[in-house]
Symmetry: C3
C-alpha cells in the first residue's frame, strides 16, 4: 500500500491566507425545492401563514410561493463555512444582514465573500477576519448579504501581520435600509387565517412576550437540519470531535427553533427582512428544552399597509418567565450584567407586520 | 425591565367560550407539497401503489397524483387543536369522517369548525364540546369533514351551564355515504404492481389479518411527523411537559404507522374514504415497538370495479398473534371486556379495493 | 373470535420457488420527487454540484435536474427485497450495476428481476439464487440494471435440488461498458462552483484519499432513509427482531454516507455510472461513527471532456488514517489478509470526472 494522500481534501483557509479586498467564490450552488419547505416544517414548529400557504402568500402579493427567509440564510451561510470558518476559533458576530428578495422553489443560491477587514491578535497566533458575504440567485440577483467576523488561526505564527483594517458596521440597520419584498402588500391581510389579531399598532417598544412553548432537541433532528444547509462543521455530526462526546447543535438550528416558537405572540411578524446582530451565548445539545421570548426594540412605518418591528429574540434552555436577559450585576447596573445562565441566543432582527 | 406580557399568546378556548352554532375559522392555511409525500414515506413504511406512483395513480384515473388521505387528515386536524383542544382534558372520540376529494401537491387546506353540541359535566368544572370540522381547499371545495368531541376545562367553575345539546352521530357511515374520488376506476387495476393478488371477493367479513411487521418508535421521528401537521400540543415535544419526562406520541402517528404496516395483507385497500370512529386506547412512547392487525367488519359493492371494506385496524405494543381486542371478562361476555394490555389504537374505517 | 388468518401476508419466496429464466415483476412502482432530493440532503452530507444545483447541472448538459444516482439505486433495490431476499440467509454480492440514464423528479421507477443462476448448498437446506434486476422508468426505458446473488432458505429441505446454473459475471465493468448520461458535457465545467480543482489528470492509479470527516449514526435517520426506499427488511426497524435489541443499519445507508463523505477529496467525481461490486464487511449500528477513504483503482478517458475513475470506497467505524483494507497476514501476503476490524464497506465503482 502506498502512503496516505491527504492533499486533495480541503484544509480551509488560515489567517494569513486572507487579504483585504480578496473575493472568494464559495462552492456548491444549491437549488431550493418544495422538499426544503416540507423539511423545515418537520424540523421547526413554524406556522407563519406566508410560508405555510401559497394561497395566503398570493393574497399579500407574493406569488409564486416564497420559502421561509431563514432557509435562504442557512443555505447561504453554510456555503461560507469551508472557506471562512473551517479553522475558526470562534464566530465573533454578524451584522447588517438584509434580505433583498424572496426565494422560491427552483431558485439556485450561490455565495461569495469579500474580505473587508483584518486584525491580527496581539498573541500573533490568530486574527480576526471580517467578510461581507453576498448570496445571489441563478439570475445573478442579490438575495441576501451580511457581514460576519470570525477569529481564525494562523497556519504559521511567524507569518507577518497584515495592516489592520476595521470596517465600519452599523449596530442596527435603519428602517430606510430595509428592503420590502417585491409585490408585498398587507392591505387585504387575513388576520384570522394568520392566527392572531395583533397588528403593528398593538405592539409597543419595550414590550416583552413570553412565547410559552418549549421543544426538546434530538440529535437526529439537528443533524438533519444542519446537513440540509450543507454546513459541514465536524462538531455538529461527530461524537468523536469533542472531548465530551456530544454533538454541538448548529447555532442556526437554535435561531430557527426560537423563531418558530415566537409564532405564539408574533404570528403576524410574517417576514424577516434584516438581522442586526446576534450572539450564540451558550452551546445547546440534544436533551435541552428550548423556549423563547421576545422584546420589541423599535418600530417603524414602512408603507400604508406594512410596518416593521425591531425584535430581540431570546432562546433559553428551560423557560424563563421573567424574560430578563442579564444578571443584576451591581458593578455594571441593571440590564448590563453578563447573560443569565440558560440564555442560548440573543438575536436582533427586523420583521414586517401588517398595519 | 418591564413586566412580562403574556396577553399576546394563545391561551385557547375554555368550555364557556363555546356556544352551539358557533363557527370557528382555524388559523394557518397549509399548502401540501411533494415534500410532504416524501416525508410521509420516510416516516411511515407506506407502499400503497396509488400514493407511491404517479403512473399507477393515473392508471386508476387519479391524475394529477394524489397524496395519502391521512396527510390531509393530519393537516386538517392539526389546525383545530389551538382553538378546540388546547385546554382539553381528553379527546373523547370522533365520528363520520369522510374524504370528499383527492388532495394533490399545490392544494391549500384550511379548516373551520362548527359547535354542534355541548354538555356540562356534573362536577361543574368541565364539559363536553362537540364540533363538526370541515377542511376545504383553495377553491372552497370540501376535502374532508368529521365530528369530534372533547372534554374541555371551564375557565370559571361558576360560569352558568349551557343548555345541553347532544348531536346525533352515526356509529358507522353507510356505504351510500361514501364518496368515491372523482375519476377513480379500478377496471384496469394492476395487482402485480400493487403487490398482492387479493381483491374484494377474497376478503370475508370476520376475517382477521395479522400484519406481521413491527416498527420501534423514536422521538425524532414522531416529533417531525407531528410538526409537519402543525400540531402544537406541548406533550408531544417537550420533556418538561409531563412528570415522567417522556414525550407522548401524537395519536395520529400511531394511526399512520398502523395503516402503513397494514399494507402487508391489505395492499389493495388503496384509499381510505371514511373513518367511522377510533379510540386511542393507551399512550405510546419512543422505544415502543408497534404492530398491527385488522378485522374485516363489513363489505359493500360500490361500482363494477370498486368495492369497499369496513376494517378495524388495531395497533398493539408488542405483537399480538391472537388478534384479539379485549380481555375475556365473564361479567360482560366474550368480546365486550376491557381492552387487552398492549392495545394502542382501535380504528374503524372504510377503504376502497378493486373488485 | 375466529382464527388468525396470516395467509394474506407476504411470506416471501424460498429457494425452491425460483427457476432459471423466471421473471419476477416487483411490486410498488415509485415516483421520485423533489422531496426525495431534499431528504437525501438531510440524511447525507452530500455536496456534489450536479445533484445540488439545477443551474450547475444545466451547465453540464443535464436539464431537467437529475437526482443523485444512489436514490435510483436504493429505490430500485428496495423493490426486490420482498420477492428475492425476504428469506435470505445472506446477501452474498452484486456485480455489473450500470446506470443507463438520469432520473428526474416525476420519473416513476419499477423493477423486475430474472433468475439467472441457482445452486443448492451441499447441506440441502438452502441455496444461492442469482438474479439480474432491471429498473425502468414510466416510459419503459432502462434506468439501471445489476446482478445480485443471495443465499435463500429452502421451505422444504426435501425439495429436489435444481440443476446448477452459474452465470458468468464480470469482476469489473470495462470503460466501454459505461453509459454516459445523455447530454453530459464537462467542457465548460466550473471547478470553483464544484468545490475542488482536481480533474481527471490529477488522480493517479493507486492514490489513496482519506476523506477526513466522520458522522455518528442515529436510529431515526437510518430508519427514515431505509423507509424512503420502501425497503421493508424487519431488522432495520424493529428492536425485537434481533437478540441484541439493536436495529441493523441498511447497508445502502452506509454506502450513501460514505459516498457523501468522499466529497472531501473527490468533489468532482460527480456521477456514479457503475458499481462493480461491494461487500458489507461488518454491520453498523446507531452510535457508530463512520469515516471513509478511497483508492483510485483504474482510470479511463471517455470523451474530450469526460474521464472515468474506478474507485474503491471504504467505510470504517472510527477513522483509519492508514487507509489500509486488510490485516497483514503472512499466510496470504500483504493486501490479501482478512478485512481489518472496523471496515464496514468495501465498494468498487466507476465515477465520471471532468478532464
Amino acid at each position: 500500500m502506498s502512503e496516505t494522500t491527504e492533499s486533495k481534501t480541503n484544509g480551509g483557509n488560515f489567517f494569513e491566507d486572507f487579504t483585504v479586498g480578496q473575493v472568494i467564490e464559495h462552492a456548491t450552488p444549491r437549488t431550493v425545492t418544495e422538499g426544503d419547505r416540507a423539511l423545515y416544517g418537520a424540523l421547526y414548529p413554524t406556522r407563519f401563514a406566508v410560508p405555510s400557504s401559497a394561497a395566503f402568500a398570493a393574497s399579500v402579493g407574493l406569488d409564486p410561493h416564497p420559502v421561509e427567509e431563514l432557509i435562504a440564510f442557512h443555505i447561504a451561510f453554510g456555503k461560507t463555512v469551508p472557506d471562512i470558518s473551517l479553522n475558526a476559533v470562534a464566530n465573533l458576530g454578524y451584522a447588517e444582514l438584509r434580505f433583498h428578495r424572496s426565494v422560491r422553489p427552483g431558485d439556485t443560491l450561490a455565495t461569495r465573500s469579500e474580505v473587508i477587514g483584518l486584525k491580527q491578535n496581539s498573541n500573533g497566533k490568530s486574527g480576526v477576519v471580517y467578510v461581507r458575504s453576498t448570496a445571489t440567485n441563478q439570475h445573478g440577483e442579490v438575495v441576501l448579504d451580511w457581514c460576519r467576523w470570525v477569529m481564525v488561526h494562523k497556519r504559521d505564527p511567524e507569518a507577518p501581520a497584515p495592516e489592520t483594517v476595521l470596517p465600519e458596521l452599523k449596530k442596527a440597520l435603519e428602517p430606510g435600509d430595509l428592503v420590502v419584498p417585491e409585490g408585498l402588500d398587507f392591505s387585504s391581510y387575513d388576520f384570522t387565517a394568520a392566527g392572531e389579531p395583533h397588528r403593528f399598532d398593538d405592539y409597543a417598544v419595550g414590550e416583552l412576550i413570553d412565547h410559552v412553548d418549549g421543544v426538546t432537541f434530538t440529535d437526529a433532528e439537528h443533524m438533519m437540519a444542519t446537513r440540509l444547509w450543507q454546513n459541514t462543521a465536524k462538531v455538529h455530526f461527530n461524537t468523536e470531535a469533542r472531548p465530551d462526546g456530544n454533538r454541538l447543535i448548529y447555532g442556526g438550528h437554535v435561531i430557527s427553533m426560537a423563531r418558530a416558537l415566537s409564532f405564539n405572540g408574533l404570528a403576524n411578524a410574517q417576514l424577516i427582512v434584516a438581522i442586526n446582530g446576534g450572539s450564540h451565548v451558550a452551546p445547546a445539545f440534544a436533551g435541552d428544552t428550548v423556549y423563547a421570548w421576545s422584546e420589541v426594540l423599535d418600530k417603524a412605518e414602512i408603507s400604508d399597509s406594512i410596518g416593521a418591528l425591531r425584535l430581540r429574540l431570546v432562546a433559553t434552555k428551560g423557560r424563563d418567565e421573567t424574560t430578563t436577559l442579564r444578571t443584576e450585576d451591581p458593578s455594571t447596573g441593571s440590564g448590563a450584567g453578563r447573560y443569565k445562565d440558560g440564555v442560548l441566543l440573543d438575536l436582533d432582527y427586523w420583521a414586517l407586520v401588517p398595519r
